[in-house]
């Protein structure tokens, strides 16, 4: 009954989405009041899809195996938390979550977007409704999660055991919130093209939404990478797997979009380019969805190996991106080019940022799709792996990272490169110290590693220098004065500095794990003692136990350092009987600047076990850095000037909400 209720809500949501789309997009030119239907429709759609999604989660929670989706993807012996998260651990459920997030962003614009001009808001919601209608049709006609089974089976088929993991359970919602969040930037871009107007106010409205999506995507990618690190069992954290690339591409272009929107907002330049970026960022999100669900790529993520579904998503992609680009071709030339600036200026720096990020995206795009294209053209099969990206992506990204600290130091319109360099002298000095320290610390490591560390330190130092410069620290301001100034700095300035510092932290983590990993692989009998880096490990024993839905062999390793016991690590090998699948549970002891990573392998006949132990230097920084970036993004998001829905002059004009939108545009 509850499932039918959810099904009904889903069908109703499609109807509401069509109203939300057609009212503003078709109706508004004839009758302005038809545009007003968008706001209540977007709210209703959010409510309906929430109900529908809750109904599906409920079906999973009570293991209603009369739903074919639940029967295929759940099992009564699963822990409750994984029953719940199993609701989106499959194609149909995750598509429902996808549409729910789409409706959430639309609903947020409807609930909190009261500072938007009515026409713009209606058109944004209309485009959002059109995307929603397309995906709801896709869901209902090709991937309906609410189909019944008769007779219902006695128990379900289970869920892929390596997906039964907390980080992975919550990785898709964040990832989708990122992907789908870029739909708002797309809708804003299309709405702006329909109105034929892009102004700084438009950029100010579009930025917080893009930033929120970007934060989610960053977190989602970081969670996926962290999961791969501890679950797949050999400590890799990024594989250039096509599906990872599918999430990296919209992230790279979304990052470019965040930066180019600043130029539109502050200087009124780069309008057309920003519109294109908004369109292509969402296009890449759709391409990611297509790649994962069409079966053209196979991967652990590719749970819907059904070409027919792929073709429908491809159709949606062509329709929306093609439509938006056509609209762009017609309308963009009419946009007035504004904002004059010198080749050395903050604007120019942000253009270089965009250029390099776009080129990096192209490198990933070509590497991901070229093998498919070549196979289709002449049947040749080639592989594109990490060595390709090391030769193409890395040389594009490194110059970008080197330039990052300069950006915020340059003035708008015309900058003083000498002055900017002087302001960065301290960062350069600290970076040189980092280089020297890393050089001395590593005995015969790769020569490039100390330079990588120096790059990371340069980014962090540059971020601090920017704050230091802005509060006039050491330049005439006393410490209390500087602190007072720091408190008054706009949150967006803090956000920028923190996010850029986070990039530096990630760089240091990546350099550490790729350059200085220590590895021990031995066949050992219980009782053996061995050394990894500065740790001494004693292999104590292996015991077996029964988990809720798996059997496990658990190894026990005593870890000592400098003669002191510091931990006992218990890596496991598990077998899930429902699917007869083995998984490894690595044991990790972290001291934050390095991980000790121990994996129990197979038994090698004579009572010995294959044991792998690694010291992974600095690897936690990869994810810590990502979290710092997200934190920076959230600080920036909380800036009063960008806060979603907050009137721009809330503090000084109490009745700001009542003002006419036109005034804000000219403000």
């Amino acid at each position: 009954m509850i499932a039918e209720f959810g099904h009904f809500a889903l069908v109703l949501a499609l109807g509401v989405a069509l109203v939300q789309a057609l009212g503003p997009l078709i109706g508004m030119p004839f009758n302005a009041s038809l545009g007003r239907v968008a706001v209540p429709a977007a709210r209703a759609q959010l409510v309906l899809l929430s109900l529908s999604f809750l109904a599906l989660v409920y079906a999973f929670a009570v293991s209603d195996f009369s739903l074919s989706l639940v029967a295929a993807n759940s099992h009564s012996a699963k822990p409750l938390i994984y029953k719940l998260t199993g609701a989106w651990g499959n194609h149909e459920g995750s598509m429902l979550l996808w549409t729910l997030i789409l409706a959430t962003f639309g609903g947020a614009v409807a609930f909190f977007g009261s500072n938007l001009p009515d026409g713009l808001r209606a058109r944004v919601l209309g485009v959002q409704g059109l995307i929603g209608a397309a995906f709801l049709m896709f869901l209902l006609f090709t991937s309906n999660p609410f189909l019944r089974l008769d007779p219902a089976p006695f128990d379900g088929n289970g869920l892929n055991p390596i997906l039964q993991d907390p980080a992975l359970a919550f990785h898709p919602p964040f990832l989708y919130a990122g992907y789908v969040g870029f739909s708002i930037a797309f809708s804003f871009a299309v709405a702006a093209l329909l109105e034929g107007k892009v102004d700084p106010a438009w950029a100010r409205w579009v930025r917080p939404w893009t930033l929120a999506a970007w934060c989610s995507l960053t977190l989602g990618i970081a969670m996926g990478s962290w999961w791969a690190y501890y679950e797949l069992g050999w400590g890799g954290w990024w594989f250039w797997d096509p599906v990872e690339n599918a999430s990296l591409m919209p992230w790279l272009l979304g990052t470019a979009l965040l930066h180019s929107a600043i130029v539109v907002e502050k200087r009124g330049a780069l309008k057309r380019w920003t519109l294109l970026l908004a369109i292509f960022t969402f296009a890449l999100s759709l391409i990611g969805t297509f790649l994962v669900r069409s079966g053209v790529l196979t991967s652990v993520h590719a749970f819907a190996v059904d070409p027919a579904r792929g073709i429908v998503i491809l159709g949606i992609l062509v329709l929306f991106v093609g439509g938006a680009l056509t609209l762009y071709a017609i309308r963009a030339p009419a946009l007035k080019v504004e904002g004059i600036f010198a080749p050395l200026s903050r604007e120019a720096a942000l253009i270089v940022n965009n250029l390099l990020l776009t080129a990096a995206t192209v490198a990933v795009f070509v590497g991901t799709l070229y093998p498919l294209a070549l196979d289709a053209v002449d049947g040749t099969k080639i592989s594109v792996g990490a060595p390709f990206y090391n030769l193409t992506f890395v040389p594009i990204i490194v110059p970008l990272l080197l330039l990052v600290p300069f950006g915020p130091m340059l003035g708008w319109k015309r900058a003083d490169i000498l002055g900017a360099s002087q302001r960065l002298a301290a960062a350069a000095a600290v970076s040189a110290v980092g280089l020297a320290a890393a050089w001395v610390w590593q005995n015969d490591g790769p020569w490039g590693a100390p330079f990588g560390i120096a790059l990371g330190v340069w980014l962090i130092g540059g971020a601090f220098s920017e704050i230091g410069y802005r509060v006039r620290l050491f330049r005439g301001a006393s410490l209390p004065e500087a602190a007072a100034k720091a408190r008054r700095l706009p949150r967006s300035a803090w956000g920028t500095a923190i996010a850029h510092a986070g990039v530096g932290v990630i760089v240091i983590g990546i350099v550490g794990i790729t350059s200085w990993r220590v590895e021990v692989i031995e066949a050992l009998e219980p009782g053996a003692t061995f050394e990894v880096g500065s740790y001494t490990l004693t292999f104590q024993n292996v015991s077996s136990y029964e988990g809720p839905n798996f059997r496990a062999d658990k190894g026990s390793f005593l870890v000592e350092r400098n003669g002191k016991e510091i931990a006992t690590l218990t890596p496991e090998k598990r077998i899930y009987p429902v699917s007869e699948m083995p998984t490894t549970e690595a044991a990790i002891y972290t001291i934050w600047v390095a991980d000790l990573y121990v994996v129990l392998g197979d038994q090698t006949g004579t009572g010995a076990w294959t044991v792998r132990a690694y010291v992974n230097p600095l690897v936690p920084w990869v994810w810590i850095g990502a979290v710092i970036m997200v934190f920076g993004g959230m600080i920036s998001l909380s800036d009063r000037r960008y806060r979603v829905g907050a009137p721009i002059r809330a503090a000084s004009v109490p009745s700001a909400r009542a003002r006419k939108p036109e005034e804000e545009v000219s403000a």
């Binding site: 004059i340 030769l391 699917s579």
Partner: protein
């Protein structure tokens, strides 16, 4: 069917939990290091985008042993790669060689970067000529108005 494929895939994915086995390693550390380097350039044919160095699949193990056998026989790195490509095809190479079919793969990022640099250059130059023609110095009234705006903004921020 779909379920079967999913389980098979998951098996392929979860198997590569480990790589090189203790028994496979060569006694000569220099040779072993070369073997590891080569292994990272070779794809495990039955896995998803994984090198044989990372994969636990039986086929990857066979290839790892093959690489080491060739190295022991005195092959250079290039000879080992040729030997393996002759038998398994270019599909095993994680870094596709540059030839007619892969020119676009390697050149596209470079071409896009170049085209980008040129268009940015043109864009900036155009901006500069426009600024030389288009901006007159501020009049006294404008300066005064600007001062007021700046004062307003600073006041607001407090």
């Amino acid at each position: 069917m779909i379920q079967g494929v999913a389980i098979l895939l998951a098996l392929l994915i979860s198997l590569p939990a480990m790589a090189v086995y203790p028994g496979e390693r060569l006694d000569d550390p220099a040779l072993e290091e070369r073997a590891r380097g080569l292994s990272q350039e070779l794809r495990c044919l039955v896995c998803q985008n994984q090198s044989i160095d990372d994969s636990d699949a039986p086929l990857a193990k066979d290839l790892r042993i093959l690489v080491r056998d060739r190295l022991k026989a005195g092959d250079s790195d290039a000879e080992v790669m040729t030997y393996i490509v002759d038998r398994y095809g270019e599909f095993v190479l994680l870094r596709p060689p540059l030839r007619a079919g892969t020119v676009l793969l390697w050149l596209t990022p470079l071409l896009v970067l170049l085209a980008g640099v040129i268009s940015v250059f043109v864009y900036l130059r155009r901006g500069q000529t426009a600024s030389a023609e288009g901006t007159a110095p501020l009049s006294e009234a404008e300066k005064a108005r600007l001062g007021e705006i700046v004062m307003d903004r600073e006041h607001e921020r407090d």
